[in-house]
Amino acid sequence: MAENNIASDPGARRMIGRVLGIGIVAAAAIMVVVTLVQWEIRPQTDDATVRANFVGIAPQVNGHIVELHVRDNQLVKEGDLLFLIDPRPYKIALERARATFALTRKEVDGLKNSAATAVAGVSKAEAQLNASASEVTQPRDGSGCRRRRDRPLGSAVPACRRSFEAC
């Protein structure tokens, strides 16, 4: 309807056309000023660095980054997760260390058992030694049989056999 009115009235079309043309040029001039002001008061760039707030960040371990949770120029806060290093090699190393620890603990337990067995063997041997010594050195009738260790090797035993039999 409006288009028909405009098309039917050349004077109106001329007026609207001039206003529109002047408006376009004026709006373009205003936008140029606005853009220049924006450009001056809020400069933006991807290539600049600010030394005062530049903080180098490096991980304490090396590895491949498998997840990246930030993008360029993103504002981050303390504690935010920036990226994720592949944890698989470290998990494998941890499992290997745990397995080695368990194996070492088993070995320690086995050595403790061996030590206890050896101590028991020493006690048993001492007991056997004491028992053997008492059998040899304590004749019941007090006949004064010589101790086996006092007897020279190869000496005659039968002289004391009776005494031993009585012991």
Partner: protein, 68 residues
């Protein structure tokens, strides 16, 4: 320079993208609208008006999309 925009792996300045978008689709529709309304002969010097129209649309797009 302004921010760089990643377009399928290549980085372009934002103003270049806005200008390219304006050139591809804006001029035809703007001129077409004026022509369809019958205002084309009355808007004034075409070189001035259409250049101003291109600058206007480009800057409005740039300020709206990248400075909003």
């Amino acid at each position: 320079m302004g921010p760089q925009i990643n377009v399928i792996g290549s980085f372009f300045p934002s103003w270049m993208l806005v200008r390219g978008d304006r050139d591809c689709g804006g001029i035809c529709s703007d001129g077409g609208c004026l022509y369809a309304l019958g205002l084309d002969p009355y808007v004034g010097p075409p070189a001035l008006v259409y250049s101003s129209l291109g600058i206007l649309v480009t800057l409005v797009l740039w300020v709206t999309l990248f400075r909003g």
